[in-house]
């Protein structure tokens, strides 16, 4: 057999049926379900009188609408409450495994899937949510689908797909201190644009990717969709296998041995051909800050907001002008001069324990220096990705580090990444956010979002404006920031 990419291997193992034109029926091993994109699918299934194909492949949880404060009081907004109650009722009726809002394991679907060992290397995994690409970190084929396709998977355990082209993003070398997987993701999107990955399944490889933790790989694959890619993925290695060990839904005993042996084959073969290859040197990647209303509108923290006059073409120029007007920024402004009103540390991109540790280190540094969240910052909130992440952080005392420095410590959920619950920006408010989208109105109508890594968001909260985390990473040069 000729050399195959990781994507080829995952694809080949899941083809149930293929049409002459290449359209294939693909088997789906795992299905995550949340309250926003599922009610119409469950309703459709019921109205058509069809049966659920294989309910044991499903893990459900409410995450988008859940409050991050005073949870014992339930959901105040009646429309949000109805949506969550509808999920609860659908799961109860069909006997599905759901972590309800009161369950200590509840959290963002893309955080709890890996945490539970529900996300398996070598599997196909879907969810009615674009950030399903996150799970590709486990050498899984994972992608977001619409509600009609959610219903299709409920009824058939399969999806119709055309195979994408394969792209390799290779990042070699060592990342500088303070530069993270989030910065790699933003740097890649800055390079190829938000449509640069359209039509591709992207594999991230190279020594810098192998050096990332599983959580870092999740952050990176999470943002693959922001480059337009169908899926992002990373080859399985011993780190992947170690992560899977002992998780509640991981295989056990003889199943484990069989699974782990297979997982060790989940990498692109030497000589496998990709349709496109992008190479980046890790050493040249800097802390990234978005300045506009698309993730591709991104520069280094040491850079300036670009001038529309320098745009490569007329469509982009108009785009940049509109973005600057919306963001209330002027071309040429140094990024470090941009002050913020709020900071948000959370989302399926950056709400795992390592993210919180990185942000908490900044909070501890601030407290040690007699500083706290800057006076111009109205709110700096930390929203863990799941109940288990929250418990782990509290066991490590991170919650106290945050609170001592003036950050708010919240309950788990999607929160202000998309502001479907009560957490949102008011018109004109500017936010340093660890989430994934800086679209107009994403964090609240008129809100202005700057995407950054967790430590960068925490540092912006403490200083009241963006700062270069690399200076903080070296305590000796800390005074430079003041």
């Amino acid at each position: 057999m000729s050399a195959r990419t990781l994507y080829d291997k995952l694809w080949d193992d899941h083809v149930v049926h293929q049409e002459a034109d290449g359209t294939a029926l693909i088997y789906i091993d795992r299905h995550l379900v949340h309250e926003v994109t599922s009610p119409q699918a469950f309703e459709g299934l019921k109205l058509s009188g069809r049966a659920l194909w294989r309910g044991s492949t499903i893990l459900a949880t409410p995450d988008h609408n859940v409050p991050t404060t005073a949870r014992a009081a339930g959901i105040v907004d009646p429309v949000s409450r109805t949506q969550v109650e509808t999920l609860d009722a659908n799961c109860a009726e069909l006997g599905l495994n759901e972590f309800r809002m009161s369950d200590p394991r509840q959290g963002i679907v893309h955080v709890i899937g890996p945490e539970q060992g529900f996300t398996l290397p070598g599997s196909t995994l879907v969810c009615g949510d674009s950030h399903t690409s996150t799970h590709g970190a486990f050498a899984a084929l994972a992608f977001g689908i619409g509600t009609s396709e959610v219903e299709h998977v409920l009824a058939t355990q399969c999806l119709w797909q055309k195979k994408s082209k394969a792209m390799l993003v290779r990042v070699e070398g060592d990342l500088p201190a303070g530069v993270t997987a989030k910065d790699i993701a933003l740097a890649v999107i800055g390079r190829i644009g938000t449509a640069g990955g359209t039509g591709y399944a992207v594999e991230f490889g190279g020594s810098a990717i192998r050096a990332l933790s599983m959580e870092g790989r999740m952050t990176l694959c999470n943002m693959a969709i922001e480059a337009g890619a169908r899926a992002g993925m990373v080859a399985a290695d011993e780190k992947t296998i170690r992560y899977m060990e002992g998780r509640p839904q991981s295989p056990k005993g003889a199943d484990w041995d069989q699974a782990a042996a297979y997982w060790r084959t989940l990498h692109s073969d030497a000589g496998a051909q990709f349709d496109a290859v992008l190479e980046l040197a890790a050493a040249e990647i800097t802390p990234q800050v978005t300045w506009g209303t698309s993730p591709e509108m991104v520069v280094a923290v040491t850079d300036r907001v670009p001038n529309p006059a320098d745009a490569p073409n007329a469509v982009k120029k108009a785009d940049w002008e509109r973005a600057l007007a919306y963001m209330g920024l002027t071309g040429g402004t140094p990024i470090h001069e941009i002050t913020i009103d709020k900071a948000f540390i959370g989302s399926c991109t950056n709400s795992r324990i390592e993210d919180l540790r990185e942000a908490a280190a900044v909070a501890r540094w601030a407290t040690a220096k007699g500083r706290r969240v800057a006076a111009n910052v109205k709110l700096a909130m930390v929203v863990p990705g799941s109940g288990l992440v929250k418990a782990q952080a509290e066991a490590e005392g991170l919650d106290k580090d945050f609170v001592a420095a003036g950050f708010e410590w919240r309950e788990p959920g999607c929160s202000m990444c998309l502001a479907m619950n009560a957490d949102r920006l008011e018109p004109g408010e500017r936010c340093a956010s660890t989430s994934n989208r800086n679209f107009e109105g994403r964090q609240g109508q008129g809100g202005r979002t700057h995407l950054v890594s967790p430590a960068m968001a925490a540092a912006a909260a403490v200083f009241g404006h963006f700062v270069d985390i690399r200076a903080l990473a070296n305590a000796l040069t800390i005074e430079v920031l003041q």
Binding site: S48, T82, D129, G144, T156, W160, P251
Partner: protein, 212 residues
């Protein structure tokens, strides 16, 4: 899904690249558990001057006179002319639901985001891809003449301009077939039940750990 029949439709030009699904239908309207009724909130933040919330009567809200879809000449449009990477962002099928409910049956753009493109076909909305230069020209023609309408024939895979120019477009064969006939994907897939079961039986042997 209703079959896609030939139509002659008024064209509305939305001259922005990277129009995302948050713009097409803002998140607060995603709290609905229904599949219909999203049209009045399509492009809500661009279309109205106040903050939209679920349950509001949109007929009394202040409209933004600068937003192109509010211009009198584009009322009743069923063809949306757009720029590259249309529909980027979230997987929310509420985006095509909102566009369809608003009255759009056809979208024309140089490129689309992947999930949005898929979702359109599931809802009787035809997303047509044309070269950027052709789209550019259609923008100019639409803006130059009021009442500019295109005839869209999916079976023939053609657009016809008011001037009689015929523009061919590509569409995936299987998708075209399903859209033209209004076929139900799930019904078609369930005809392959035996193959799905055979696949499962084989995988249970090969990879039992996937079936715990």
């Amino acid at each position: 899904m209703k079959p896609f029949t030939p139509l002659k439709g008024l064209v509305a030009p939305l001259d922005r690249a990277n129009v995302d699904t948050d713009a097409i239908i803002p998140k607060q309207f995603l709290k609905s558990i229904k599949r219909s009724g999203f049209g009045p909130n399509a492009f809500d933040e661009w279309r109205y001057l106040d903050r939209g919330e679920p349950g509001m009567d949109c007929t009394n809200r202040p409209v933004n006179p600068d937003f192109v879809l509010n211009h009198a000449r584009y009322q009743g449009a069923s063809v949306l002319l757009a720029r590259e990477n249309f529909g980027c962002g979230s997987s929310r099928e509420h985006a095509p639901w909102a566009l369809e409910d608003y009255g759009f049956r056809v979208i024309i753009a140089p490129s689309y985001a992947d999930i949005f493109f898929n979702n359109c076909f599931k809802n009787g909305v035809l997303p047509i891809v044309l070269a950027a230069e052709t789209v550019d020209r259609l923008f100019q023609e639409t803006e130059a003449s009021a009442g500019y309408a295109l005839t869209v024939d999916l079976a023939a895979q053609t657009l016809t301009t008011p001037g009689g120019e015929v523009i061919a477009f590509e569409v995936d064969g299987e998708r075209k077939h399903r859209l033209l006939n209004g076929l139900d994907d799930i019904g078609l897939t369930l005809q392959l039940t035996d193959q799905i079961k055979a696949y499962e039986a084989r995988r249970r042997q090969e990879a039992a750990w996937l079936f715990l």
